[in-house]
Symmetry: C2
Subunit: 282 residues, 2 copies
């Protein structure tokens, strides 16, 4: 009897699914789908339909190199209700067995938080979501109440403004390190990973030093200036594991001509190879 990969993935927690896929395809690349309408290649319709077609072709061309996908909600919401339909369609277009992260930066209290969690996990079918820690733990917990789901808590973001509040010293450590430490200490059914911008390699190293097991999502590579190689060096554990290098524009807009999918496929393949230091624990 043949069991397909979708069945095998059931019951495994998010982190195990990511690690298993990384070992299988030899890479730690997360392909970010940020389909800004104004940047869609010539020949695609400018609205939700064009975004859907664009993302579908990108997914088809990159899925062999993607350990995970990350879908940025902003560019879909910008297209209104049609954009939300496109979001559903794009999520569904990702092959079973590849973990998908909702880059939605949600976070709200009590019953509102639970409604967001249902929207992202049950309605849209994502496997993980980025969440903002400012509201505190009771706003994060609704997203990790199921062992197959996970969150990436914003820790040190990739933007210049990350310094404004995340770096403030509290009890002798910057706020983001406090967020990191508390995230590690939580016992929840779902896994808690962290977002640490690749633009701050020193922060990446500090956070990684806390634990080999912590799953990191590293945005800020490519258009924002950080390199894959430097990010993996700073963010991966001693076995080269547990750090997803998230790349969006450098892949999806590798070409804005008719060959955009082919160019994206090549970029993803090249970048995925750069993320692989060999799974020394495997």
């Amino acid at each position: 009897m043949v069991t397909d990969s979708a069945d095998l993935s059931k019951g495994l927690n998010f982190g195990d699914r990511v690690r298993e896929r990384a070992s299988t395809i030899h890479g730690w690349l997360c392909v970010g789908l940020d389909p800004s309408m104004e940047k869609l290649p010539a020949g695609l319709s400018p609205g939700a339909a064009g975004m859907t077609q664009f993302c579908r072709e990108i997914i088809q061309a990159t899925s062999g190199s993607a350990t995970a996908y990350k879908i940025n909600f902003a560019f879909f919401e910008e297209a209104g209700a049609g954009g939300w339909r496109a979001l559903e369609a794009v999520r569904s277009a990702i092959p079973a067995g590849i973990p998908v992260i909702a880059d939605a930066k949600r976070g709200d209290i009590a019953n509102t938080g639970r409604a967001y969690a249902r929207a992202i996990f049950e309605v849209l079918g994502f496997d993980a979501v980025t969440v903002n820690p400012y509201l505190g733990w009771d706003a994060i917990i609704p997203f990790v109440s199921n062992e197959t789901r996970a969150v990436f808590v914003l820790c040190r973001t990739s933007n210049p403004g990350a310094r404004d509040f995340q770096d403030l010293e509290t009890d002798g450590v910057p706020l983001y390190m406090r967020v990191a430490r508390e995230s590690m200490g939580r016992q929840t059914p779902g896994e808690i990973g962290l977002v640490v911008g690749a633009t701050y390699p020193g922060s990446l190293r500090d956070v990684r030093a806390l634990s080999d097991d912590l799953l990191l999502l590293m945005p800020g590579i490519g258009a924002q200036g950080a390199s894959v190689l430097a990010s993996i060096r700073a963010g991966a554990n001693r076995h080269g594991q547990n750090a997803l290098a998230s790349v969006s524009r450098e892949i999806i807009f590798a070409s804005v001509e008719a060959d955009f999918a082919e160019a994206a496929g090549e970029a993803a393949k090249r970048l995925a190879a750069e993320t692989w230091r060999g799974d020394r624990a495997g």
Copy 2:
């Protein structure tokens, strides 16, 4: 020549529109639309269509008492693309001249932040939005680049978890006071207000002490335990102004029977009267 209120409101900034409406209707009540599907009154369809009908009837019954409305995105997103269409319909059902706040708690970097701002202001037509400060100022600025729009930055939220990070001491002041002070110091075309939970009257008083002009949005009244009167006392300025008492469930679920709209209208009228200490500056 007759000029209608929609035309008059153009060009006025958000805070002035709120203050003008408060003076006109004698109240500082913000009616929160949080249409949880599982709580909709009997007789309404359980999905997006029921949510739309529910909110439309609530709006019709409460608009005379509402200085502003606040729409909670989570309960619409929970209904998928149909929910997003319902969100558009509900926003449109609010009479011109009443300011409408998107309770979306957004916040993201650079071009992603700009896409969220376009979604909320240009596509959905909201006047203000709640934003999360954790990512820093460059994530807030895209929402206040237009003088007719405003943000309410999360400062001290109404939930128990607010203590986890917002209360941490940084340079001798809690993080939320730092957020408050920096928000006041910013010069932006759009107005920057703050979210301070009515469940923490001490925090409300501390934040209000910073300035009479600061516009506050106070959630946490009713179901979460705070009273309108105590909130206005702690949060309004010396003239009884600039603090919106945000009430959701106590109004919209005042009855879950066929008379829900009538009951909501009565609750809103009663609560709006409680917010009014007389506009001593007017």
